[in-house]
């Protein structure tokens, strides 16, 4: 697909006035930039500033320690273990979110009875409050009075209640599953919206060429979804990586640090141990990791877009 710039030059008339309209374009983006600068840039800078100090959270007072926070952090096994857990959690839940999201979007694009209701119900995991969702899931997972174990026992699938959250690898798997359940509707809605704008002629042409349903999916649907999926994967990766509430409330990081991720460490440092400086250092390192990923990902995405 030709880039916008190339298409602009190819078209007659008003488009050669692109330079004059450039200033209108900057005007349109100005509010965003202003809000960004004022409200995000300042906390961002202050986070780096805080990370070079040892700060007591309630008073925000402290003293300079230079890179000592970073040195402590990078030499502790806690950090590296949390980083590894972070990757496992993010990769696992992201994969399920995308696969389930695309699959369900395709289903909800068909002519189903009460389709509007189905589409709005599928959003439920996404809009229910995380605290409530986790409390309900802990209830459902409970070994004594939880309905999941009860169903499985009655159906004869197991003969002892499963310890969903207190044992590995169950804990990580449960966390990944609940995360996928909670966030896959985001993918569903974004993909569903994009599916609406795929020209039906493409499908007609593919059918004429003899493509079956799988062929149509891989040759027509998927390429059309590429741009939305690129954005969705990027956003979900960043958000899943940063996820705090879900894991903290579900397992607290247990059993014994097996599901402890970096956002949990940041929170513990900032408000549990009242060490804002150390928390900021963890946050900055997390940012660096995500920055590397984002740059690599966008670079590859741009490369494949240009190749297409």
């Amino acid at each position: 697909m030709a880039s916008i710039a190339e298409r602009e030059h190819a078209l007659p008339g008003g488009w050669t006035l692109a330079l004059r309209y450039g200033s209108l374009g900057m005007l349109l983006i100005a509010p965003t930039v202003l809000i960004f600068a004022a409200v995000i840039a300042y906390p961002l800078v202050s986070a780096i500033y805080l990370s070079l100090r040892s700060i007591f959270t309630p008073t925000l007072q402290g003293h300079w320690v230079g890179l000592a926070n970073y040195a402590d952090l990078l030499s502790s096994t806690t950090f590296w273990r949390a980083l590894r857990n972070n990757f496992v959690w993010t990769a696992g839940t992201l994969f399920l979110q995308i696969v389930a999201g695309v699959a369900v979007a395709l289903l909800l694009n068909q002519n189903i009875v009460f389709r509007s209701l189905a589409r709005s119900l599928i959003l439920f995991p996404y809009f229910v409050s995380t605290v409530v969702a986790v409390l309900v899931w802990r209830w459902l997972f409970n070994d004594l009075y939880g309905i999941l174990n009860h169903f499985m026992l009655t159906l004869g699938l197991i003969d002892q209640p499963v310890n969903w959250l207190g044992q590995m690898p169950n804990a990580m798997i449960s966390v990944i599953l609940v995360g996928a359940w909670k966030y896959f509707p985001f993918v569903v809605i974004a993909v569903l919206a994009r599916l609406q704008t795929i020209p039906p002629q493409l499908y007609e042409a593919a059918t004429i060429d003899g493509a079956g349903p799988w062929g149509r999916f891989f040759d027509v649907t998927l390429p059309q979804l590429r741009s939305v999926l690129t954005v969705v994967i990027l956003l979900r990766t960043v958000w899943d990586f940063k996820e705090f509430d879900l894991i903290y409330l579900l397992t607290g990081g247990g059993p014994i640090n097996a599901t402890q991720t970096i956002p949990l460490l940041v929170y513990q440092q900032a408000f549990g141990l009242n060490r804002m400086g150390m928390a900021a250092a963890y946050a900055v390192v997390m940012m660096a990791v995500m920055l590397v990923f984002m740059s690599l990902y966008l670079y590859r995405a741009r490369r494949s877009e240009e190749a297409a």
Binding site: I4, L28, V39, I40, P43, A47, L121, S129, P200, A279
Partner: protein
Amino acid sequence: MLARRFIGAGLLNVGTWAVVLAVIFPLIWMVLTSLKPQSELFHIPPAFWPQSITFEHYRVLLEETPFLQYFRNSSILAVSTTVLVIVVGTLGAHSLVRFSYPGREKLALLVLFTYLLPSVVLIIPLYLLMVWAGVANSLLSLVIAYTTFALPYALWLLRSFMQGIPADLEAAALIDGASRLGAFIDVILPQALPGIISTALFTFILAWNEYLYALVLVSSDAARPLTTGVMNMLITSFNIEWSLLMAASVLMSLPLIIIFAFLQRYLTRGFGVGGVKG
């Protein structure tokens, strides 16, 4: 042949609805639990259906707690944030897609950088900023805060939807003498409507559900939204008021389900794609 199509359609319907019901199973559990009297909460072995139905918990919630006040606050907060984000975001996304000016790509990337820091570290500086601006402890501070989180992803989502709209459409309108803004409103907006609707949904949900910033930025009940209001009231470290919590969660969810079902009508192919042959 006809029979096969019926069976196919039947399987599709049953299969899809089975998936939907499985996904909303916790909601079903919440509704059933909220109708059970407290004595049926923790039956061992667990019972799915209530033995007796009671609306007592809903009554207590609506009459004896500030729940309705929190609901009103959350509604104002979510609607304001969504409107603000959609307006600023759509204009911004259009700019990123259609206009060229120096630093455009870098700007788009920079905006996404806002997501790299965990909120825990941002929250106190943000609160100090609100105090300095004189809007601390008000709904406005939350609208500002939520707009700043929502804007980056709204921009990126809307941008990707708008990139899918052929430039020829706008060019045709311009050739016909429409102004840039006119072409935008009459041609681009309808095409981008599914994308705008979905972005609006996400923004609404973000504003409705957010907890940590609502916790720190607002401490007075007059401006408190549902998330912190319900949590503070019903959850302490030693005890959870389960029945009231389930009733509150159902009341928090049902209006959203209804609104979203209504909005889904716009998430359809109604506005077409083709329009220019060739």
